[in-house]
């Protein structure tokens, strides 16, 4: 009985310890940032789209984005396994409601596929996303655990007990590239074998190669023989780019670069502060921000950005 109690108390303490759950941009914010990045990128240049053979697919004759250039599905590739995935598998509008589209008919444009990737990069087991990852190794994958990188201390997310949730946490650069932590800053980069992120930069490149050629990068054998099949790889390409862009966005945040727990769950003394945006006047479009303390550059290396709610 005494042992059981000790075990119970231990589990409670572990639970409190791993309750350090930083959160960051909302999904809609990721989508909007991605849309703005897309609008300012070379992807809006017709010449580039023409050179990729995408112009007639992605654009209408007047230059506006075509509504449905690639269809509504894409591929999830893991080694030699290729699984077809639907953009809205459960019919719950999961991604489209975060995209901020005036007309949901625009949910499959080229930029929408990137927004979709930026939204789905936050997929995590036990949350309200579609939970449609076909890879058994990813059955309990929580992608956000791999969205952290502290460049001063060369570390990803480090929270006591987090290894019980995931014992192979990648830094954001390694996760985004599709390589290992050790290889993330040691070129030449090589893809990690059996990686759990199927929408890394390596995956985007492979999908683009298949979209352009209908072949795998390491084989001359025909692979995606039909136009429809190649188009699904285009959708995969832009979805994966969206996933990578999500990580770039996260790296612009103190929370993701300073191992900052700020989940705001009980007890805050252990889990970190809650959001500094006060919701009190949200219905009036006013969010009051209590903010972080100003950090002098000379002390930046040492600051954890932890602070009690004010």
């Amino acid at each position: 009985m005494a042992k059981q109690r000790l075990l119970f108390i231990g589990l409670v303490l572990i639970n409190l310890g791993i309750s350090s759950k930083p959160f960051a941009y909302e999904l809609a914010t990721h989508a909007r940032l991605t849309r703005i990045a897309y609008d300012r990128s070379v992807l809006v240049e017709r010449e580039l789209l023409r050179s990729l053979g995408l112009e007639s697919l992605a654009l209408n004759p007047d230059g506006s984005l075509a509504l449905n250039p690639f269809g509504d599905s894409y591929y999830d590739v893991s080694g030699n396994t290729v699984a077809l995935r639907q953009a809205d598998p459960n019919g719950v509008l999961f991604d489209v409601k975060f995209m901020g589209l005036a007309d949901p008919a625009q949910r499959f444009t080229l930029s929408a596929w990137m927004m979709r990737g930026a939204i789905r990069e936050d997929d995590a087991f036990g949350e309200d996303n579609p939970q449609d990852d076909p890879d058994p190794a990813n059955a309990r994958l929580r992608r956000p655990l791999h969205h952290f990188f502290d460049p001063f201390k060369n570390r990803g997310l480090e929270v006591p007990g987090i290894g019980l949730i995931d014992n192979d946490i990648h830094t954001a650069p390694a996760w985004g590239l599709g390589t290992t932590n050790a290889n993330a800053f040691s070129p030449p980069h090589t893809p990690e074998v059996n990686r759990r992120n199927h929408f890394s930069l390596f995956d985007a490149r492979e999908a683009m190669y298949r979209a352009l050629t209908g072949k795998k990068a390491d084989s001359d054998d025909p692979f995606a023989a039909t136009k429809e099949g190649r188009n699904k790889y285009w959708a995969t390409t832009f979805r994966a780019l969206g996933d990578v862009v999500h990580l770039v966005q996260d790296m612009g945040q103190p929370q993701h670069t300073r191992n900052d727990p700020h989940a705001g769950k009980f007890p805050e003394s252990l889990t970190g502060h809650a959001s500094m945006l006060s919701p009190g006047r949200a219905s009036q479009g006013v969010y009051e921000f209590s903010g972080f303390d100003v950090v002098p550059p000379s002390n930046a290396k040492n600051v954890e950005y932890r602070r009690s709610r004010v």
């Binding site: 759950k21 019919g91 969205h147």
Partner: protein, 203 residues
């Protein structure tokens, strides 16, 4: 000593079970009631579509997000009064157990009006003012913003179908205002949203 130890143990066990209250009790909200008044005159406004959105921070491992877990719409009566009854529903997905009810947001919409203020002492009331801006694109953007504030609730799991009357009203006001192709796209978007909401969750 043993009694104290047992007491502490029971207390901790109870506390642990109490944390996910929603897991036992399901999701619930309301009742919510208030009035919609006109700025300056302070007269009640009837036939205003009022939207109540129940939102929560969904904390998870290493991140969190805001979710809309229920939405209701109703219309004010001749006294400008509105009322949302108490509601309750079962939890049907694991993630809903992590919902920590935080706040209900109230929005009020009537063609030709825009949001003015919330009375400090009556947080559920809304004050609208006649829209005096440009009748074309400027008003259209105002209408579009009203929709954008609610699309996060356009989810069958959040009772998103209740948004349909709002989107129909937005469409009806927006339609004669659209002059450019882009504005027509915004207008047709209301109908697209209705169509998608009606068909969502049926796969």
């Amino acid at each position: 000593m043993k009694t104290v130890s047992n007491y502490i143990f029971s207390l901790m066990a109870s506390a642990l079970c109490a944390l996910p209250l929603t897991a036992c009790a399901g999701l619930s909200g309301g009742p919510v009631e208030g009035r919609v008044l006109e700025a300056n005159t302070h007269k009640p406004i009837s036939d205003v579509i009022v939207v109540a959105r129940w939102k929560s921070h969904l904390a998870s491992y290493a991140h969190g997000k805001t979710v809309c877990y229920h939405v209701l719409t109703t219309t004010t009566n001749s006294e400008g009064q509105y009322q949302f009854p108490a509601w309750k529903e079962d939890i049907t997905a694991d993630w809903q157990k992590n919902i920590r009810p935080e706040r209900v947001l109230i929005d009020a919409y009537k063609p030709g009006y825009h949001f003015d203020s919330v009375p400090r002492d009556r947080p559920n009331d809304r004050v609208l003012a006649p829209f005096t801006g440009g009748r074309g694109g400027e008003r259209l953007l105002e209408i579009e913003r009203t929709k954008q504030a609610t699309v996060g609730c356009a989810d069958p799991r959040a009772n998103g179908k209740s948004l349909i009357p709002l989107y129909r009203a937005l469409h009806d006001e927006a339609k004669p205002l659209a002059a450019t192709r882009e504005e027509e796209s915004i207008v047709s978007g209301f109908l697209s949203w209705i169509k998608i909401i009606e068909s969502s969750g049926k796969r």
